[in-house]
């Protein structure tokens, strides 16, 4: 069975995003179409200013496209009222950030528990699930540590557990290895791959990190707001220029 035959989790249909400031308009994404299936890991790469963050924030239902349609787990989020988007993010999407973005006042365990509050899961149930997820990502002994007491790799593991807390279909990762050394970066990508393959999630990461390409099912090159086919040499040149 091929990957594309699996249930689509993220669909971009002719999506364009134009930023307008005064008389100036800049197209960050131009007529992008893409389908990402369940259990798939894709990495979107591209030079700075290529539109990667815009792509990720539209995929995360945090920003609306200027035109086109975005469907997440069967829900056309472009047709939804603005006030309903937080619920889509709660239920269908988990986020992983470059700078981890854990809440500094909360322990690792509480950071994971917190997300479940949005869906009314609190108390022992939330705690048990948070402990289970932290164990899965290898944070057992440090679960009561504050973020400042964790290394970068440990913080990103906590962030992955947090992203999975509400059991979303889609995990979006923004430069998940950028603040980590190569060893920790690889471990994080292996963990994300495990999340896709064993837990059945769809992982979409945007990254500059060439080292993680081998762990992706697909690598997409985004440049000037469009996906392009380019050679490995061109990728190297473009990212290192």
């Amino acid at each position: 069975m091929s990957i594309t035959a699996r249930r689509p989790v993220l669909e971009f249909d002719d999506v364009t995003k134009v930023y307008t400031t005064g008389d100036l308009s800049v197209a960050a994404l131009q007529n992008i179409s893409l389908t990402v299936a369940e259990r798939e890991v894709i990495v979107v790469m591209g030079p700075s200013g290529a539109g990667k963050t815009t792509f990720l924030t539209i995929a995360g239902a945090l920003m609306r496209p200027t035109s086109g349609r975005v469907v997440i787990s069967g829900t056309d989020v472009t047709a939804l009222d603005e006030r309903r988007l937080p619920k889509v993010r709660q239920e269908k999407i988990g986020f992983i950030f470059q700078s981890f973005n854990l809440l500094e006042a909360l322990s690792a365990l509480q950071n994971v528990e917190l997300v479940m509050e949005t869906r009314g899961v609190t108390g022992r149930g939330a705690k048990a699930r948070a402990q289970e997820l932290l164990s899965m990502v290898g944070i057992d002994r440090q679960r009561n540590n504050l973020p400042k007491q964790l290394s970068g790799g440990q913080k990103q593991r906590v962030a992955i557990a947090r992203a999975l807390a509400n059991n979303p279909d889609l995990v979006l990762a923004d430069e998940p290895t950028a603040n980590l050394d190569s060893q920790r970066g690889r471990e994080i990508m292996e963990l994300l791959r495990m999340v896709a393959k064993e837990l059945g999630k769809t992982v979409v990461a945007v990254s500059h990190d060439l080292r993680i390409r081998e762990l992706a099912d697909r690598v997409l090159w985004l440049e000037d707001g469009q996906f392009r086919d380019i050679s490995d040499e061109q990728v190297h040149k473009s990212l290192h220029d």
Partner: protein, 369 residues
């Protein structure tokens, strides 16, 4: 309460205590002023209420006990006794005055009453003896504290010497205190031979004090006559009507101080944690949920401040009158309910200050790395 609320409050302990302290101070000011207001309200009219009389008669134009400028001829007593419904009449002399206590001037209300069973004497003699004989005086305990005098000491005025033979309670008029002498001593001391300030009427059983008052005024046009409760109210109003606007302004200022301190600390905390609120928005928390987090922090601050301020009020009210006799307080649970509601309103207003800021937090900003 959300874990974010709990941890945010405890993570910034100094700020939290400053904020709680601000609310506690505000609650203390509000509840202490209210207890002072209640205490004064009770004390000012209580002496008049306790006097065993049904109708007070004063010179026309004198409407209360404190403004005792009334002068009535003594022979009017017989005319009043002839009014229908009047059972008995007592004379009373009241004069606000200064006395010399070991070289220091002290203000008081000198009250001369008929010591052989007349009304208007000391409500309760707590030390020494009563009634006072010629040249003797019984002073209110608040006056004794204020002037630093006791039994055996003397008050001097206009060449007269009054020896303190007793201490009484229940005669603190807040801005002045009552001191009791016999009617004859008062007349001699104040050069009011054959004169009275008030006549106190005891009505016949079943007689209507309002009707008797009206009949007295009809029979003697130079006087005003007031049922006892009206006279007490007029006495109370003289003080309280002047105090209420001042108290109201101070209460309002205390409330504003509470809102300002809580509001600023909550606002600053929100601005400092703007990025964290952006993260929460990105992962699916709504603006309403974020507002709830801020409101919870504000309410927790307010409630803790209320408890501390409330306890401080009760403790201060116990001891303050010993230090400053004018600070008569009455702590009522009904007032604490009012202060609690004011504290909750304070917390809600404080939480609303950063609402606009919360609403404009852009979750996309957390992707900037």
């Amino acid at each position: 309460m959300s874990i974010v609320t709990r941890q945010n409050l405890l993570a910034e302990k100094t700020r939290f205590f400053i904020s709680v302290g601000g609310v506690a101070l505000s609650v203390f000011l509000i509840s202490f002023l209210l207890s002072l207001f209640r205490g004064w309200q009770l004390s000012v009219g209580r002496f008049v209420e306790k006097v065993d009389a049904d109708v007070w008669v004063a010179r026309d134009g004198t409407t209360d006990f404190l403004n005792a400028a009334s002068v009535l001829p003594g022979e009017m007593e017989a005319d009043l006794e002839a009014v229908p419904g009047v059972a008995a009449v007592d004379s009373l002399i009241v004069r606000p005055m200064n006395v010399d206590v070991e070289g220091t001037e002290q203000s008081m209300h000198l009250v001369g009453y008929e010591v052989d069973g007349g009304a208007g004497g000391p409500p309760k003699v707590t030390k020494g003896r009563g009634p006072p004989g010629p040249g003797e005086v019984i002073v209110d305990d608040a006056f004794a504290d204020k002037a630093g005098v006791g039994i055996g000491d003397a008050l001097e005025t206009g060449g007269h010497r009054l020896e303190i033979v007793g201490i009484s309670s229940g005669g603190n008029l807040i801005f002045s205190q009552t001191s009791f002498v016999s009617l004859e001593t008062a007349r001699e001391t104040l050069s009011m031979d054959g004169l009275s300030t008030f006549f106190l009427i005891h009505t016949d059983d079943g007689a209507d004090a309002e009707q008797v008052s009206a009949d007295v005024m009809a029979a003697a046009p130079i006087v005003g006559a007031f049922p006892s409760n009206q006279f007490a109210k007029a006495t109370r109003d003289r003080i309280m009507k002047n105090l209420i606007p001042i108290l109201f302004v101070i209460l309002l200022l205390a409330f504003v101080v509470g809102v300002a301190i809580t509001g600023l600390t909550i606002y600053n905390a929100t601005v400092e944690k703007q990025r964290e609120y952006g993260i929460l928005k990105a992962i699916g928390f709504t603006n309403g949920y974020l507002f709830r987090l801020v409101l919870e922090q504000s309410l927790a601050t307010g409630i803790l401040g209320f408890l501390i301020g409330g306890v401080a009020t009760v403790v201060a009210a116990q001891f303050i009158a010993d230090l400053v006799p004018q600070f008569v307080t009455l702590v009522r649970w009904q007032d604490f309910i009012f202060v609690f509601v004011a504290t909750i309103v304070m917390a809600i207003i404080a939480a609303m200050l950063p609402v606009r800021r919360l609403a404009t937090v852009d979750p996309v900003a957390v992707f900037s790395g």
